[in-house]
Amino acid sequence: MSAHAEVLKDSRAATAFNVDRIREDFPILREKVHGKPLVYLDNAATSQKPKAVIDSLVDYYTHYNANVHRAVHLLSTRATAACDDSREKVRRFINAGSTNEIVFVRGTTEGLNLVAQTHGRQNIGPGDEVLISGLEHHSNIVPWQILCEEKQARLRVVHIDDRGVVPLDEFEKALHERTRLVAISHVSNALGTVNPLADMIKMAHRWNAPVVVDGAQAAPHMHVDVRALDADFYAFSGHKLFGPTGIGVLYGKEALFNAMPPFQGGGDMIRSVTFEKTTYNDLPYKFEAGTPDIAGIIGIGAAIDYVNDVGMDAIAAYEQELLEYATDAVSQLEGVRIIGTAPNKASVISFVVDNAHPHDVGTVLDREGIAVRTGHHCAQPVMDRFGIAATTRASLAFYNTREEVDALIAGIRRVQEFFS
């Protein structure tokens, strides 16, 4: 290869963020689906795992599988140390002040339910309000509905506009002295809208309302700094962050965590137990009853290491470029309409195709090896807002390529051949 070609290749690699090399880290991307190369565009549902994460699970089960915090033997010591390391990695990843503020849960859903059932039950009473947005995933609606029903409180919704944006002025107007809690997503799973979280949190704090953030779709795609945001609670899932399923994180400000009653009772969350009285363990263990998902905790630590190695800034920049490329390409298709056109979006393109139901779109794309999500995306109120039952959703990750977006476009054309 000539020196000139070498330079060209290097510059292309730099702008293309060396996605080819990154793809080699993800064994599943070599799979074939219906005889075609897998084009995985369902990252908002769950992301694929780099070999480093898979290896971390195998390594734990092969070399030091033991329970944590209990035994004096070496394997238990190693497993405990690995879990402690992971907690510190998570702390740094979201810039929390202390590992006491990092509670491991099963996933975002459990994190949100934990807040509802502890802080919520303790602080919300008849006539109070919980404020959510019209963008929310069912997991950031239903726990608050259950709470409000139990406490005779009101669940108030700030509706989205035609672009899928939560209007800030509407949000501000909805806050008042009875607002006891605000629950809002950082990034919408159905539309990809990025909420102006820092502004929203400032507004809520003027009314002394703590803010619970559903960060499931943000953590894999952008820097999350819980202290800069001044978030009171922030929940996210490991499996959407290139880690294993079954593990997630609930961040909470230490003062809030301290004031909250425990979530579940059991081992590990206690200091001492008699039949008369139990005293609870320190943070974060107070909220971690029972043997935790040790492999999952180790896996999420490995995932964070991997993301840090690639670099979140580089990931965010590459994904924005890819999202723009995909948005342009989909917009140019006649008879296809993008649902969710917020100026600030991450990762997600939701769309509808004239004369083709999303389920049929999904089936045709699947036969082309393209994995997308079709349906209501656990966000039926969002679908209702746009007067549709379902969309097709392509959601990107940093291992996706322009060629894969091109394959999606070709797949949509094939759908149109079938159903137009």
Binding site: P358, T363, G375, A390, F418
Partner: protein, 147 residues
């Protein structure tokens, strides 16, 4: 590998684009609603039953090509039938979608759904209208769900 054309046979595409018996049934005696929580699709089936036979049958709603075509072909096939005959036809239809065997010879046009067997996620699309029809015959006031 099964081809997409095995799933979306011409008859299915035709009925999904121009569904038959779509709309209200005058002086309906029975009706029910069905819901597929997987995709959010809803269908309503209305019936006019006289002397134990389905004299009028129509549907509204539905969604994807498979569920719309299934509702359309079902209404065509079940007109004039008795509830017992509906039940027998439903079982044969369900077997067609889930069992690895030759379709029952008397399924007629309904046999075009044989390709659905290769797509387990789509079986519920094909049976939604049928579950709803059976609920209407039972006089089930609750919307039936495919889950």
């Amino acid at each position: 590998m099964s081809d997409l054309n095995d799933l979306y046979q011409e008859t299915i595409i035709d009925h999904s684009k121009r569904p038959r018996n779509k709309g209200e049934v005058e002086q309906a005696t029975h009706s029910a609603e069905g819901y597929n929580p997987l995709c959010g699709d809803r269908v309503q089936v209305q019936l006019k039953i006289e002397n134990g036979h389905i004299l009028g049958i129509g549907f509204r709603g539905a969604g994807c090509a498979i569920s719309t075509a299934s509702a359309s072909l079902m209404t065509e096939a079940m007109k004039g039938k008795t509830p017992e005959e509906v039940e027998i036809a439903f079982r044969k239809f369900r077997d067609l979608l889930t069992e690895d065997q030759a379709p029952a010879p008397d399924l007629g046009k309904l046999a075009v759904f044989s390709g659905v067997r290769e797509y387990p996620m789509r079986v519920k699309c094909a049976t939604l209208a049928w579950h709803t029809l059976r609920a209407a015959l039972r006089g089930d006031p609750q919307a039936v769900s495919t889950e």
